[in-house]
């Protein structure tokens, strides 16, 4: 499903010099895979995730997604592909403070071409599936961290993406809450969703099918 070839990401240091965050990345991820990206701080894990998520456009190399050469796409086409295929879970949940749980779930749908009735049905399904129907009118600040991340995951998959990217999804949760989220990830993966997560935790990585180690921008 995903093929990265010779992908590099660098930032200018001045005087024509470059600082490389990612070097010569070759990576294949199949449909239904569950990959954990690990490595020390500054290794380039999050950068890799944002390249996979098509948030970052300043890289070089080749990136094929479902045989589509994204490196040839214009920004707008990439955004369209991302909206169709990719969901994101963040370490800090990033729920919108002024919106209710229901409204937070509705946001990704509002940016895609869903009708009002489809959106209502999909949000209803997600609330039901994640057992948060009773919390639909609450604001994020009224939820625990685990509940917030649950909503975050529900929001990431509500538009039925093929790929779920998670950046330290349990980083702000205590262990039992983290475990719940990882179990949920495994369940989603078992249902066929491809998952790539960035994590520092060996335990969380063990929920995945394979581990990619990064160090100083290189896959080791």
């Amino acid at each position: 499903m995903i093929r990265l070839h010779n992908v590099e990401r660098s930032y200018p240091l001045g005087r024509g010099q470059l600082f490389y965050v990612l070097r010569d990345i070759d990576l294949d991820i199949s449909q239904g895979d569950f990959v954990s990206v690990m490595g020390p701080s500054g290794a380039g894990k999050s950068t890799l995730l944002h390249i996979l998520g098509m948030h970052d456009h300043g890289w070089t190399g080749e990136y094929f997604f479902d045989e589509t050469a994204t490196h040839h796409l214009k920004a707008k086409e990439r955004a369209s592909l991302r909206n169709e295929k990719i969901g994101f879970v963040f370490q800090q949940y990033h729920l919108l403070d002024d919106l209710t749980v229901y409204e937070n779930l509705d946001i990704p749908l509002s940016y895609r071409h869903y009708s009002k009735s489809e959106r209502t049905a999909l949000v209803g399904d997600a609330l039901d599936r994640f057992q948060i129907v009773g919390k639909k009118d609450l604001y994020p600040r009224q939820l625990s961290g685990g509940q917030q991340q649950l909503v975050g995951v529900a929001r990431a998959i509500i538009a039925q993406p093929k790929l779920l990217l998670a950046d330290e999804p349990t980083g702000n949760l205590h262990s039992s809450q983290g475990e719940e989220i990882m179990k949920l990830f495994r369940k989603l993966n078992e249902e066929g969703m491809t998952i790539v997560q960035v994590t520092h935790s060996e335990k969380n990585a063990s929920y995945g099918k394979r581990i990619v180690q990064l160090r100083d921008g290189w896959i080791v």
Partner: protein
């Protein structure tokens, strides 16, 4: 408290960008208010330098049916009221007059009046030297009172001035007193009044019978007795009126109604509405400035939660935190007040120069920063400081101690309440701006219409100057006719002058009114006859002024004093008085005599630019004239060379004559539009300032929101929002308070329209096109102000923004 003040000062110094923007914004608002207040103080509050001016009343006549408003009082009416009234301590009259002063260098025209002997006693003005007139001097003795300026400038401050003689209109007058300089508000600013004599009931060229028939020319004042109210004085007038009607039933003014106003009310009535509008406008500007700075303060104080939390952790109370912030806002507003006052102090004295013809301001001593103006500025600055500071200070002082310490120095999003408050501020700015812009748009449209009016003559390259002919040398109409013939003869020989003419008056400056009636119908009684401006004109008048002859013929040399009495009338008059008829050959009854209409000329707006043309009557100078002469010449030369040429031509006829107020007709037309122009300019400037401030306010508010919501925008983009989605969201949220403000502003502009009603010409105060244009203009500007930060929002890099979170 001192430490708090010191801290507030230090905080301002540490944030020079914030301090300068806030101070400049407020300085604009406070400065504009100080400027207008200083004018209001000079015009309305300072008061006339008379004894208890609110007890002095000005009496005037009106007859709305005959379109006569605020006209002067006739001599017989004055005399009857004076003898019959019981409500006034003193009752006096003035007949404004221009004298030719000779014997002190070149002859000059000076202004003043002929007074009843008690005039200055009634006003309560004591001479600084000598005495006021005595009753015995009123009718027969040639005495004069001069101002301090006259004494110092024209008589060199002569210590023996009392008893000295000056020649006025060829007659020696003995100076009996020197008065303080008189206020422009009552006596006029341009020209300034300098000399007064007695013999108030005499007008050169008018016979005693004419005067006693009810010609109105006296400005009458009365000092109300102690214990009698103005209402009681008003109530006493009808019985005096009835007596006059009974005793003089055939006088031309017998049907007029007498009214009175106190002097302070009288001198301000013409520009009261204008200044109410201007004061409202500058108040709006200040409120908009306040809301901008309040917004800045809210952001600034909210961003200092760590400092607040630390202070509270160290024992500070919420009150002391709020006080700290209020001091900061007060410091900003007081510095802004000082800057505003400084700018005002330099710019306001320009106003008398721009507006001396319609605002009674003395250029030398008016509109300086007086104690009341300074007190106003200081008070306004403190009020402004409290207004902008209290809410942000209270909000800032409500910071949560634990959260504040956790967050460190990072800025916060601000509470929902603060966000609402900011939206309210933006909405209020827009509402105030749209109201102000609508007002300015109405005045500008009105002014454009007014200045595009066809005034009926070609004012370009037209020079005019006034001359008073001394009655001692020109005692009768034939002598004055000879003067005109000789003067025109000399003037037409001067190269550089295209054409020249003479008339008794000129458009937009002064005019006489005459009763008239059709001679071919039943003649109504005198008191029911219509009244119209009348002009005595010499040959060449219509050519020189560029007024077209539409039918019949002009005056010629055969229209002499002994010939058939002839006249010309205006086109509007012909249509009004002779509808569907040819008036030529018909007779018009003027002063009881038939005058044959020999022609019709184009309409001239002789009274006011804003007054629609009506009946105007022109008579040949040879057949009807007074010793007041206006010379008009058409020339490409500038004012001073023309004045010199005319003066030298005049000197050949009579070297003792002086030209008063030489000027171009363009200048006179410009002055006639001056009040409207000044109002338009001032309101336009204030509206422009309001628009600028509101734009900055909207830009700032939306920009701050974008900065505050970078994380949220990044999340939305990470969740699939496209650039257009973000743009739409920011613009929609930015424009919502704008839209509400527009609706409220249009509503208030509609409601306040009537305030402007009296100042508009041919423009409805509720003109839908102008109101809609104003709203669209503001909406477009607001949209642009929203688009810049919204565009910035679309450039948020979700990866970087989220990582920063």
């Amino acid at each position: 408290m001192r430490a708090d003040l010191k801290h507030a000062f230090r905080m301002l110094v540490k944030a020079p960008a914030f301090a300068s923007i806030a101070i400049l914004t407020l300085a604009l608002g406070i400065g504009a208010n100080t400027a207008i207040f200083s004018l209001i103080h000079d015009l309305f509050l300072r008061g006339l330098p008379f004894k208890e001016p609110s007890r002095i009343v000005h009496l005037y006549n009106s007859d709305k049916a005959r379109d006569l408003v605020d006209v002067a009082i006739s001599a017989p009416r004055y005399q009857l009221y004076r003898d019959g009234q019981t409500i006034f301590d003193g009752f006096a009259a003035e007949n404004s007059f221009a004298f030719t002063l000779t014997g002190l260098g070149d002859p000059v025209q000076i202004f003043g009046g002929r007074l009843t002997s008690n005039y200055f006693d009634v006003l309560g003005v004591r001479p600084i030297l000598g005495r006021n007139f005595l009753p015995a001097e009123e009718e027969t003795v040639d005495v004069a009172l001069v101002t301090k300026n006259f004494w110092q400038k024209r008589l060199g401050g002569d210590p023996n001035v009392i008893g000295r003689s000056i020649i006025l209109d060829g007659t020696p007058h003995t100076i009996v007193g020197v008065l303080p300089n008189m206020p422009a508000a009552w006596f006029g600013a341009s020209p300034t009044a300098e000399v007064w004599t007695t013999k108030p009931f005499q007008i050169p060229g008018f016979s005693y019978a004419q005067i006693m028939r009810g010609s109105f020319f006296l400005r009458v004042v009365g000092r109300v007795k102690p214990g009698i109210t103005i209402q009681q004085a008003r109530a006493a007038l009808p019985s005096l009126e009835q007596s006059y009607r009974a005793q003089h039933p055939n006088n031309i003014d017998s049907t007029l109604t007498t009214m009175l106003r106190t002097l302070p009310e009288d001198v301000t009535r013409n520009f009261r509405a204008g200044f109410v509008t201007l004061f409202a406008a500058v108040s709006f500007v200040l409120l908009i400035a306040c809301s901008n700075v309040a917004n800045l303060l809210l952001v600034r104080f909210s961003g200092r939660r760590r400092e607040i939390a630390l202070r509270m952790a160290l024992g500070a109370s919420r009150t002391s935190i709020a006080r700290l912030f209020v001091f900061e806002s007060l410091l900003v507003s007081v510095i802004a007040g000082a800057v505003g006052a400084f700018v005002t102090w330099h710019f306001v004295p320009l106003v008398p120069r721009m507006a001396s013809n319609f605002l009674p301001l003395e250029a030398n001593d008016a509109t300086s920063l007086s104690i009341p103006v300074l007190v106003f500025t200081i008070g306004l600055s403190i009020l402004t400081g409290l207004l902008i500071g209290i809410y942000p200070a209270l909000q800032g002082s409500h910071a949560d101690l634990v959260d504040g310490l956790k967050e460190g120095g990072r800025g916060t999003k601000g509470s929902l309440r603060q966000q609402h408050f900011r939206k309210i501020l933006v909405g209020a700015q827009v509402a105030l701006s749209v109201t102000l812009l609508a007002g300015a748009a109405l005045l500008i449209a009105s002014f454009i219409r007014l200045s595009q009016q066809n005034i009926g003559f070609r004012s370009q390259n037209l020079w005019t100057g006034a001359v008073t002919l001394p009655t001692s040398q020109y005692p009768d109409p034939s002598a004055r006719q000879r003067f005109v013939e000789q003067a025109l003869h000399e003037l037409r020989r001067v190269s550089g002058l295209e054409s020249a003419t003479i008339s008794g008056d000129i458009p937009l400056v002064g005019f006489s009114r005459y009763l008239y009636a059709r001679g071919d119908r039943d003649v109504p009684p005198v008191e029911k006859r219509a009244i119209a401006p009348g002009h005595d004109v010499a040959p060449g008048y219509f050519k020189t002024w560029g007024v077209p002859l539409l039918a019949g013929r002009e005056f010629n040399e055969h229209d002499s004093a002994d010939g058939q009495k002839v006249c010309l009338i205006s086109q509007a008059g012909a249509k009004e008085i002779y509808p569907g008829e040819n008036p030529i050959g018909k007779s018009l009854l003027l002063a009881g005599l038939p005058w044959e209409i020999i022609g019709i000329v184009g309409d001239v707006r002789s009274v006011r630019v804003a007054e629609a043309p009506g009946m105007e009557i022109y008579r040949p100078w040879a057949q009807h004239n007074f010793p007041f002469v206006n010379i008009t010449v058409r020339s490409n030369l500038k004012v001073d060379p023309v004045t010199r040429l005319v003066q030298s031509a005049l000197a050949k006829v009579n070297p003792g004559l002086a030209i008063a107020t030489p000027q171009t007709m363009d200048a006179i037309v410009a002055q006639a539009l001056g009040q409207a122009r000044l109002m338009t300019w001032l309101l336009g400037i204030f509206a422009g300032t309001a628009l600028l401030l509101a734009t900055v306010g909207i830009y700032g508010a939306v920009g701050y929101t974008v900065a505050q919501r970078t994380g949220e925008i990044a999340v939305r983009m990470a969740l699939g929002a496209q650039a257009n989605d973000v743009l739409r969201m920011i613009v929609r949220q930015g424009m919502t308070p704008v839209a509400i403000g527009l609706v409220v502003g249009l509503g208030s502009a509609f409601a306040l329209g009537r305030l402007l009603g009296t100042q508009l010409y041919q423009v409805s105060p509720h003109n839908p096109v102008l109101l809609a244009t104003t709203a669209i203009l503001l909406a477009v500007v607001a949209l642009i102000a929203c688009l810049f930060p919204a565009r910035r929002a679309t450039l948020v890099n979700p990866m970087q923004a989220l990582r920063a979170e």
